[in-house]
Amino acid sequence: MSAAPRDLLRESFIELTARERARAVLDAGSFRELLGPFDRLESPWLPLQGIVCQADDGAVIARGTIGGEPAVVTAIESAFQGGSIGEVSGSKIAAALELALADCERGKIVRPVVLFETGGVRLQEANLGLAVISEIQAAIVALRAHVPVVGVIAGMVGCFGGMSLAAGLCSYLVMTKQGRLGMNGPEVIEQEAGIEELDASDRRHVWQLIGGEQRTATGFADALVEDAVDDVHAAVRAAFACGVPEAHRTEQVEAYLAKLAQIDPASVAPGTMRAAFGSTLLTSRGETA
């Protein structure tokens, strides 16, 4: 789906706000926001530290339909505190997934989508950010037994920290070339391990390591799409059409241990690791090692 010639008139997905992204993923005309800005559920912790709140705390929850089926989209707004997860923004996402789970358990399938754009825990809410991320993860694991959980990492912030684990738990991941997926951001690695470990200012190198193209080529994501609303919209539907995978990536423990065993840490590079970590495109998921 990335082979189509780029039409200059196509609308960019990356340039959209979280709210516009949620609307773009849902079927046309079906968007209904829950706990929107007028509900004014804000962070109780930021004002205590002299930081101005945002009325939606940087998370947009929207109901609607995807391919005509009931759906819920949770979208993180990178323009507010770098998309960081606070008590309220994280609880909105966890609660939306928990409600989708409750519906699924009653036989009412709800298609869940998470639009990741986050550096991870909001440091000003530290332990509560970490706690709500564990709750988001718990909800994804329970929910994906009933229905695929589809994640999108479009960019430009990417998906890092504890939320990268949440992305790893998703049934299917859609990425753009501009998207990045990693547990520790490049700056964190440079700071913790030194510039000889990783030069965070070398953008080309960073994208070769954790960018969308490499992540799909090595099976950590399932679909690489252009930065276009139409392509993201279509990829999300293609993912749901695949149904619940036989074995989620995180369940393929022996296969991944076997892949790791093939790796020589002294010489491994983004190009050479592709031999051991093949892609798992949407149509050919399953144990491959």
Partner: protein
């Protein structure tokens, strides 16, 4: 093994499960099955591994192999009990100072290795295994997410060196451009910013703080008391739901996590269109 070189995680694994004698070879993830409250529980610890081929993952951190091997240890228990009416308790002995920070770790998908551990613990809980986290050292950030934070119940030793946080103190001070001292002061007024176990308890996330135990050299009486607490937590977990809703039900959570509770209440009201 030279007792003075043991990490806290290793020490507590030996203290609680020495009879199990099923330490899974060497490597950074050790586990053993041992008696707990009249049944057999699986105890799992992440320990330093000086010879690990991934050089950024040689201390008590969660790296690539640690994540996948945790998943393997937990999933083995799930598989062994799949046809049994009783699912054995799983105790995560938590002494993990961080995830592994490295170039190779990111390239080879440390996020997925840690997610696999999260998945395994969550799946065990959903399958009816009482999952208990026993914090005996640092429980930091992504490492705690991978090893302990999916537990039905969380208990901790009240001892120097036990802490839960999203970021190491020095790194947090750098990122927020504060001194370590001012970070400590901030933690006294902003509860989720604090590094102390007492503050973690105020968030409703800690089920019991176990006092009067020497974390580095527990006596037989102290070890036995910790075992009793774990057995009590197992009994509670078996009578409770298999999700994490318990975390929002304590008096502490009602006070400190009012926003988490309010979000869930109001989202449920708006969930279905009129």
């Amino acid at each position: 093994m030279n007792d003075t070189t043991l990490s806290r995680g290793a020490r507590w694994l030996h203290a609680l499960a020495d009879d199990g004698a099923r330490d899974a070879g060497g490597g950074p993830v050790r586990y053993a099955d041992a008696p707990l409250g009249g049944e057999t529980a699986r105890f799992i610890a992440v320990v330093p591994d000086a010879g690990n081929r991934f050089v950024r993952a040689r201390e008590n951190v969660v790296g690539l192999e640690q994540g996948w091997r945790l998943a393997q240890a937990v999933r083995a228990a799930i598989a062994e009990d799949a046809s049994s009416p009783t699912r054995r308790p799983i105790v995560a002995i938590v002494d993990v100072k961080s995830q592994a920070y490295g170039y190779r770790e990111e390239m080879l998908g440390i996020h997925l290795a840690c997610a696999a551990a999260v998945d395994a613990y969550a799946s065990a809980r959903l399958a009816g295994h009482p999952v208990i986290a026993l914090i005996v050292g640092p429980a930091m950030s992504g490492a705690f997410l991978a090893h302990g934070y999916q537990a039905n119940r969380i208990v901790a030793l009240d001892a120097a060196g036990t802490m839960v946080h999203a970021m190491g103190k020095e790194a947090a001070a750098r990122v927020t451009r504060r001194s370590v001292e001012s970070l400590d002061a901030l933690g006294e007024t902003i509860v989720p910013m604090s590094y102390t176990m007492a503050s973690f308890g105020k968030l409703g996330l800690l089920d019991q703080l176990i006092e009067g135990v020497d974390a580095d050299a527990p006596s037989a009486e102290q070890t036995s008391r910790v075992r009793d607490v774990l057995a009590q937590m197992v009994r509670e977990a078996r009578m409770d739901r298999r999700d994490l809703s318990h975390r929002l039900q304590s008096d502490a959570a009602t006070r400190t996590r009012a926003a988490s509770i309010e979000v869930r209440k109001r989202l449920a009201q708006q969930w279905d269109a009129d």
